[in-house]
């Protein structure tokens, strides 16, 4: 499946380098002990520009919720419609969210609340992309109308 390939920049390079080593890292502010993703030049919690360090995290999370894209503005994704995009809440801090297509999960059958584990997919030679895989279903899958 062709996807837009991430192009690391000075700020994001540590994240993408870690992905290539199959590790998940996020910024952590040592001044206010707050994690943030995506990376920023300053801590959005306390404003510090000198206290941000990269921290490796467990790679465990939970499916917070999801949408199903039927009309994407992204040309490369239009052939894949409809497709799932889930928001994953990090175990260490559920306020830190990641995007995922949850490979293998049928369209619109995303198990909200399920436990997930970080995984990495090669999207172009030399670049792995963070993905997430369901490892256990929620006890009571959420039911939704239409």
């Amino acid at each position: 499946m062709p996807r837009p390939i991430p192009v690391p920049d000075e700020l994001s390079k540590p994240f993408w380098d870690a992905c290539n080593e199959r590790r998940l890292v996020v910024q952590n502010c040592t001044a206010c002990n707050r994690m943030q993703y995506p990376p920023e030049k300053t801590c959005l919690g306390c404003g510090s520009g000198k206290s941000l360090a990269w921290r490796e995290v467990s790679g465990r999370g939970r499916v917070d919720d999801y949408v199903v894209v039927h009309d994407s503005r992204l040309r490369l994704w239009q052939a894949e419609q409809p497709y799932n995009v889930a928001l994953i809440a990090l175990e260490e801090d559920p306020g830190v969210l990641f995007l995922s297509n949850l490979p293998g999960i049928p369209v619109d059958q995303v198990p909200v609340g399920a436990s997930v584990q970080a995984d990495f997919e090669e999207v172009t030679p030399g670049q792995l992309l963070l993905e997430w895989r369901v490892v256990s279903q929620p006890q009571r899958p959420a039911q939704r109308k239409r």
Binding site: Y66, V67, S72, S100
Partner: protein
């Protein structure tokens, strides 16, 4: 007269604890004018955004009985909203740049209408259609001008929005590297995600939106400035809404406002001057312009609920109104899936947290006891972002025609746009 950069930020009210607005009741909205509301520009220069802006401004002046030489302020939220005209070749002046075609600045309007006495002009709020009314109100209150045109141009050219540029590339750079590889690129995706969270939290569902959207379109068909009044279609039904295609589930096509090519222009002045104009004044009781950051990739329902609370708190503080004293309530509905945060937060007609979608099941018609969004909103009139404000003025002046509410109409609150970036106005039939 050209925009002095940095002035706008000094004129916004954007904090807690500012107290009742110091110019409450001393500034008034008197009139507004509107152009034809087209689906797209047809490349006829007489239908350009610039030409439509002049039509709207002239009507606003005529309605109030004001001459060109009496105008000393012009503020515009110039745009652009959609795509630029370039790289296609431009036309002869005054259409020899984007200004007048895909956007309209205050400076363009001043030059082309021949406004000679303008001493305050501003075009800094590029998409700040809520912000400019507050900016003009504060400018009048502070004496920077006394009679101000406030322009809402809203362009829509041929073709779909946002299909080219970075969205058509095979690489994801800048902020796009955190979203595009996973296909996060549909209009309103973040609000759809937040809506799902909201539904799970409060035990409601998307089907419950149907009566709300159907009523918006009904109100919009009674609003002559809007797209659906000028281009009548079969009335939207609950069945139509429920059968609508998804854009990004749970956001369907009818949850999104319709882009249009149109302009609306308001006339604001001092309360003293307004008394001598052709229409009764509607007094400005407060304005606020609030911007918030999400913690992460997108706004969660919890965050948007918190933003709503801050909007409400600041508007009630600055206007001196309480929830039970607000007669007309026109919050933004450009995507209908976030309007519930405003209703829950402002507590209009007793709505409490999580009750908005239940409120939609009641009688929200303009003839009924709870005439919510009597304007028709953006959803019911097209994406001018203006109907929510024009309706407040008309309702308080008692000239909303078939949309005139049957309940008391002496105070009004309206705001746009989205929960993380919304600017508000409070109006009163009386200055105190």
């Amino acid at each position: 007269m050209v925009t002095q950069k940095g002035v706008a930020a000094k004129l916004y009210r954007s904090k807690d604890g500012l107290g009742v607005w110091e110019h409450r009741g001393k500034v008034a909205a008197v009139s507004y004018g509107y152009s034809p509301c087209d689906r797209r520009w047809d490349e006829n220069l007489e239908h350009s955004l610039g030409a439509y802006s002049m039509i709207a401004a002239k009507k606003a002046l005529e309605e109030a009985g004001i001459r060109l030489d009496q105008v000393d302020g012009v503020v515009s939220a110039p745009g652009p909203i959609g795509e630029p005209w370039a790289p296609r070749p431009y036309f002869a002046p005054p259409y020899d740049s984007e200004d007048g075609i895909s956007l309209v600045t205050a400076e363009w309007l001043i030059k082309n209408m021949g406004l000679k006495n303008v001493r305050f002009a501003n075009s800094e709020a590029s998409r700040g259609h809520g912000q400019v009314l507050g900016m003009a109100s504060q400018a009048i209150g502070e004496g920077l001008c006394h009679t101000c045109l406030v322009l809402f141009p809203f362009g829509n050219l041929a073709g779909r929005y946002s299909q080219a540029g970075s969205n058509a590339r095979e690489t994801a750079t800048g902020n796009g590297q955190w979203s595009m590889p996973w296909g996060w690129g549909a209009a309103g995706a973040g609000f759809a995600y937040g809506f799902n969270q909201y539904c799970r939290k409060y035990g409601v569902n998307h089907d419950m939106m149907a009566p709300f959207v159907v009523n918006l379109r009904r109100n919009g068909r009674m609003n002559p400035m809007g797209y659906y009044a000028q281009h009548p279609e079969e009335p939207l039904t609950v069945e139509d809404y429920l059968a609508s295609r998804w854009v990004v589930k749970p956001l369907c096509l009818h949850d999104a406002d319709r882009p249009v090519n149109a302009a609306v222009c308001f006339l604001l002045t001092t309360a003293d001057r307004a008394k001598d104009m052709k229409l009764p004044p509607v007094y400005v009781l407060n304005h606020n312009n609030n911007n918030f950051e999400a913690r992460g990739l997108t706004h969660t329902a919890e965050e948007m609920g918190q933003f709503g609370d801050i909007h409400a708190r600041r508007m009630y503080e600055g206007s001196g109104l309480t929830p039970s004293e607000v007669d007309i309530f026109n919050p933004y509905d450009g995507f209908t899936l976030f309007t519930q945060y405003y209703l829950d937060a402002f507590g209009w007609h007793g709505v409490k947290k999580g009750e908005a979608l239940h409120f939609y099941q009641g009688d929200i018609r303009v003839e009924g006891p709870h005439p919510f969004l009597s304007s028709g909103g953006n959803n019911g009139t097209g994406r001018t972002r203006a109907a929510i404000f024009t309706d407040c003025i008309e309702q308080l002046q008692g000239r909303a025609g078939p949309r005139q509410v049957h309940i008391k109409a002496e105070t009004a609150i309206a705001g746009c746009t989205m929960p993380h970036t919304c600017a508000w106005m409070a109006f009163g039939k009386y200055p105190d």
